[in-house]
Symmetry: C2
Subunit: 431 residues, 2 copies
Amino acid sequence: MAGDSQQQSWVLMVTAQTPTNIAVIKYWGKRDETLILPVNDSISVTLDPNHLCTTTTVSVSPSFQQDRMWLNGKEISLSGGRFQSCLREIRARACDVEDNKKGVKISKEDWSKLHVHIASYNNFPTAAGLASSAAGFACLVYALGKLMNVKEDESQLSAIARQGSGSACRSLFGGFVKWIMGKEENGSDSLAVQLADEKHWDDLVIVIAVVSSRQKETSSTSGMRETVETSLLLQHRAKEIVPKRILKMEEAIRNRDFASFSQLTCTDSNQFHAVCLDTSPPIFYMNDTSHKIISIAEKWNRSEESPQVAYTFDAGPNAVLIARNRKAATLLIQRLLYYFPPNSDDLDSYLQNFPPSSYIIGDKSLAKDAGINGIQDIEALPPPPEIKDNIPSQKYKGDVSYFICTRPGRGPVLLTDESQALLNSENGLPK
Amino acid sequence: MAGDSQQQSWVLMVTAQTPTNIAVIKYWGKRDETLILPVNDSISVTLDPNHLCTTTTVSVSPSFQQDRMWLNGKEISLSGGRFQSCLREIRARACDVEDNKKGVKISKEDWSKLHVHIASYNNFPTAAGLASSAAGFACLVYALGKLMNVKEDESQLSAIARQGSGSACRSLFGGFVKWIMGKEENGSDSLAVQLADEKHWDDLVIVIAVVSSRQKETSSTSGMRETVETSLLLQHRAKEIVPKRILKMEEAIRNRDFASFSQLTCTDSNQFHAVCLDTSPPIFYMNDTSHKIISIAEKWNRSEESPQVAYTFDAGPNAVLIARNRKAATLLIQRLLYYFPPNSDDLDSYLQNFPPSSYIIGDKSLAKDAGINGIQDIEALPPPPEIKDNIPSQKYKGDVSYFICTRPGRGPVLLTDESQALLNSENGLPK
């Protein structure tokens, strides 16, 4: 490799930012565990990376002795099959790279001899159950692809990201994305395509309720394996129900038909949790707080002429609520704050810092539009009109940890400003 | 009618006692709302009426001006279609009755002109969600059948009780009972048959955890209608899954095969709740406490060579736990009391009255066999061995209201001792 003997100390780096996504037609169940091939198509909405994203810097240098990775500043092992699959598939597609400024030339063949350093950072709590692995593997594959001058397009890259984490394939695009399950045994046609970009339906507003949980959850990997092995309902769902729903959901997105979108999103989320419950032993991802949020949304939707909000839950108790527009979103956040006021133990910090920096994060302007400028505004919220007068409404203080306000967003981007890189350009170690 | 002119004041009375039952293959969904015809067969275990039962006195007198009924001492309306169906069907089958002692003779034709008084009493809290309507309608039909000298056998009576409350048909027998869905449009072949009596498998011990709940529940009548109308999984369950399970469950009961019985009972309960969740809007009957009880049972079963306990949940959060034998039941009650100690607010009353008269009811000897002779024994319970040492075990004080210890039991009986009648033999009014 050119530059090899003269300058052993060069480091080439690429930094990318990739969004997370939330499925509105769910992926649950693999037909191939190693290649990560699903039993049905799925559709997702990409979330605005300004609020939820992974940033990943990948670097290469002849001085690196082995492949290494740091996640949120802590070194983690790359020996897992999923990392190895992604690294192998990307390396196999690497092309010649020339960096005139650094005087570096790497030929296609050299890549198999070079090691990489990877640093990845989520701008949201990893423990919150917000599909960090989707954004993470998408970002890893996207950044490595750029570093190694891989010519494949986003869909082809998605088939690689898929081998890291199934839902990661849908994070290669912004807006509305379909993961086509594919038919090939080698998985080459199991990839993501964009149905519409984020500007197509930019009325939508998304509020995520991060729900406090005292139960340890089943990982989605083992959960879906157990469902495939034991549920007698899953195959019926995958073969008979989802294919029709996918067509209807594509149409709803095409026409910006919120009533259909909402109905399909909610029923598919519920059906995914139904097949979890039909698993042996049963899997519970939703808890009493999740159930309460569903009841609030259902009651409100029924009281209006047409649905105002859709809800969907992944492999955990957090609610992802999609409001039809900003007006509906302010009414939604009022309802959520009415039922789930912040825990009074934390009130001091909220009072000092309003809009509460830790209770409503993301697009804080939504709280302002909802008339929430201080804790006293939450306490003064009237019961939603859909509550009948004769039923005293209960409040659930502390059952939600915090809310994230966001919207549909764009796909992966390169960050060219070197100050945003997570690795030091001199030695390729975390900054 | 003979005796009519001479003695207008006679009152004829019959008192019966009928058990409740718990389905181990669930009934959920009607194909005919009025006749109450189900979409699948179901199988139940009859619960010992010594612990959970309905007592009903029915009486007839020419002095009665109208049909009247009292439930737990409070007069209720008989105008509902379900009461009217049962009364009409029983009256249509009434035969001649002669009571020599009272000098009363009622001919077949007279019954349509006579009114009845009915008093019914549940020996357990009606609000606890313990299928009181099943025992209630079974008892009503059984007692009226005896009063009116109806010649039909229990299976034929069950087809009448079915029109009061579907699951009531299974309370006409003790032991293990199958409700055959039937094929006829008029419902004549939708009735219960006994699979085995209560002596067939008398090792089984049943513990019911009555779970505290802050959510209002969907009634099973409207719940199953909504499931039939909206769930895309229910028909698959009813047509493809349940018929095979029914055969397997019959075999498991025949062979007293607890491993199969337990596996079928648990998976069918979970699948019933799965189709509830697949309903639009979704129905949640189980809550976090129900989920916790399932986890405790599943973890224990997995740690043993073969299952020790089966669980099943009806249209509410209460757990019905079936232990393979008395030894397993004592181990079960230790686990349950370890995780769900009584609320400390109630401790005084427990201390004054041990075994706690209000926290463990029914067959209290089970608590004694489990070594629980006082509140200090609950506090001293060690963590179950299946908990790994490195996981601190959480306790859920107050999440269970109380436990009922019982067993499989007999079918309906007549109570001939007049002191047990709920109506006054002079005037036919509640005592």
